[in-house]
Symmetry: C2
Subunit: 411 residues, 2 copies
């Protein structure tokens, strides 16, 4: 009988979002009259910008005419989209990339997971705590860890605590790390990294020969001009960093599916024999063999995000969400809660009141205010005592939720 990949059995069963769903469903069944507001969700809610819809429709029409039909596209993505990204996303930041350094995909989740295919199992991996669970779980699944301990830390992975004490910015790892995951603006904490902070990481990576995985899925929410949007704004990053980007939160593409990964030609890794190989070539081989490119109309829609009209409309939607963030942050702050994030980031990281655990607060918030959020402990042990709120909902819901939380006083 075929044998399974036993590493999957190391994964702990109860995943965060199904458990939230279960508790909300149970509450709603007992209290059918309750108007539940979801403030925890990491999904966008506003419709696509009109300019994006227009390009999407036009590309669907292309598929209906023989002369403009598109079959298999390049596995790496269409040049029209790649060139758009080089010109509209990177050039304004002072970053020069060539077309072969950008790979279009259907999701940053897929890319941050699949990138592990091209790297040996004996690399030592460092990641934040709390963290986007995909970084952790995909390393476990591929066999780069031992079992989890009682806290939820997997043997062999290096966890970098992101705490109130360090401003949710992890310290440099004290153990040797070959691969280091960074995510700024951060999910779940909403922390952002200044140029100095990023420079510290790039310098460290260059000095220790480490590889940085830089997840910039939320960079569109940065409004402070001093904060870098790309790791490549830091000199030297083109020799040590991959960057993961997505249209999901930038332009409401969570249901449309488009993202991209940057692998500069100068980023090398070594073979067992010690030879240096560009990771770009390996990823190209991986994608050519295991992927068939992103839907043509989706790539056309994605390119339209960066048309003058498309970008204006996209910025308006982001501003709408960021006003939600401001309302939640300032409302809860005035009421005496401690809230981090929500500035240059769509996530707010709220300290639970009265020393409640993350799940205790979840239950009280649901029962007392009919508001749903995401327990911080679900993102890792160091998330205990925190709670993630998101700015991706409706204005009225954000206002109403804040008002309910402020009124409720039985924490």
């Amino acid at each position: 009988m075929a044998r399974i990949n036993d590493n999957y059995l190391k994964l702990k069963a109860g995943y965060l979002f199904p458990e939230i769903g279960r508790r909300v469903k149970a509450f709603a069944q007992e209290h059918p009259e309750a108007k539940i507001i979801r403030l925890g969700i990491g999904d966008v809610t506003q419709p696509l910008p009109p300019a994006v819809l227009e390009a999407f429709h036009a590309a669907v029409d292309d598929l209906g005419r023989k002369e403009t039909f598109h079959g298999y596209g390049p596995e790496q993505g269409y040049p029209f989209l790649i060139e758009t990204l080089i010109e509209k996303v990177y050039k304004p930041l002072g970053v020069t990339l060539n077309g072969g350094e950008i790979f279009i995909s259907d999701g940053a989740k897929c890319d941050t997971a699949n990138i592990l295919d091209i790297l040996a199992l004996d690399n030592r991996v460092a990641l934040g705590d709390p963290v986007y669970p995909v970084y952790n779980d995909t390393n476990v699944m591929i066999g780069r860890s031992g079992e989890a301990d009682e806290k939820g830390y997997y043997q062999g992975l290096i966890y970098m605590p992101c705490l109130e004490e360090n401003g949710f910015l992890p310290d440099l790892p004290s153990e040797r790390a070959d691969i280091i995951y960074l995510c700024f603006p951060n999910n779940p904490t909403g922390a952002v990294a200044s140029r100095e902070v990023l420079k510290k990481w790039v310098d460290f990576a260059l000095q220790t020969d480490a590889l940085l995985f830089f997840d910039a899925a939320y960079e569109a929410y940065i409004t402070d001009p001093a904060i870098p949007h790309s790791i490549y704004e830091i000199p030297g990053a083109e020799h040590c960093a991959l960057e993961f980007r997505s249209f999901s939160k930038t332009a409401g593409f969570t249901g449309v599916r488009c993202a991209f990964t940057v692998i500069p030609d100068g980023v090398m890794a070594r073979t067992a024999k010690g030879e240096k190989i560009p990771l770009n070539k390996l990823w190209n081989r991986r994608q050519s063999t295991k992927f068939n490119g992103v839907s043509y109309p989706v790539q056309r829609a994605a390119a339209a995000v960066y048309s003058p009209e498309g970008w204006k409309q996209t910025r308006e939607i982001i501003a709408y969400y960021m006003e939600n963030a401001r309302i939640i942050r300032s409302g809860l702050g005035k009421a005496g809660f401690t809230v981090y994030g929500g500035v240059n980031a769509p996530y707010l990281w709220m300290k639970t009141p009265a020393n409640l655990s993350s799940w205790e607060f979840f239950d009280k918030l649901l029962a007392g205010c009919h508001v749903v959020g995401t327990p911080g402990s679900g993102f890792g042990p160091s998330g205990e005592g925190f709670f993630r709120l998101s700015a991706f909902g409706d204005r009225a819901d954000a206002e109403e939720a804040v008002s309910r939380i402020i009124k409720y006083n039985k924490w």
Copy 2:
């Protein structure tokens, strides 16, 4: 410095299609007047059916209105598409599936590659020769083989020759195999499997506790009612077989990207400790963690393939391609060439004349007839002396190519 996955270095460099592209380009530059016809390409050329376009547009419009906006969908696919497949694809075949047994994806290439994630490296894998290169290369990349020998066979993989002598239907492997790849209608040979042939494989898999990977990407080209479209038409397959399906060739979705994989609840594999685990659960965990579902409008477009209008239009396009296949097969056959496939399958497998090697014939066909095909040896050593032609082009091109090949007599 981070270490690469050294298994990638085992892959032989010169991949088939880039080499074809290189030779065609060189010829075209020397002979700019030549009207080159591409008969080798495995990509569709006819536009999407109108009913599919209509549903595609309507779903794009959904994304433009707040009330009908769709963000993240289920990683496993939307129930509306899964239910359509259960009712329209499988029920007419007498096959009963439940919604949890079908996983929607963006490509059968991705699925046949990614499925290896959930299986241990020490499984023994058997695959056809010639074969769709993805089966072979993904096993090499994940580390299930040794180096390639001078012929191109990788150590540790079991190759099952598909030859003229066995009607291109592989014999049962004589060595123990834990995982067996089957593809019918076959790419590249165009061979199809009768109910008896499939029953032989299912019975063998059940007897030897092997797992079948059944790739049915070309089943829509079966016109003979006696030939099964699904492995699940064979009793017992629900305990030993996964099935890979795609909209690419069925409905012209090569540029749209939609496919699905069936993992019946009854298909088990064992852990290192000997416990039996349903593969369905593991794949669900893999997809939930490493994938974010298929684009919502794409899934709506895919579902429309099976509307009454959509299916009628889709069948017309398939009939168009199959008439191309008939023209090529009968034209070349009358002229004395030996041609297999092209009946119940969109691929034709032509024996090269005058004992030419596959590449020798490629060069002569290009230089003498300005026709491009795919050298059979590119699909594996047993493809040597054969040549793949496809039915996916235009009628006029198929007719013209056949006429040129017949006229040319310097083989």
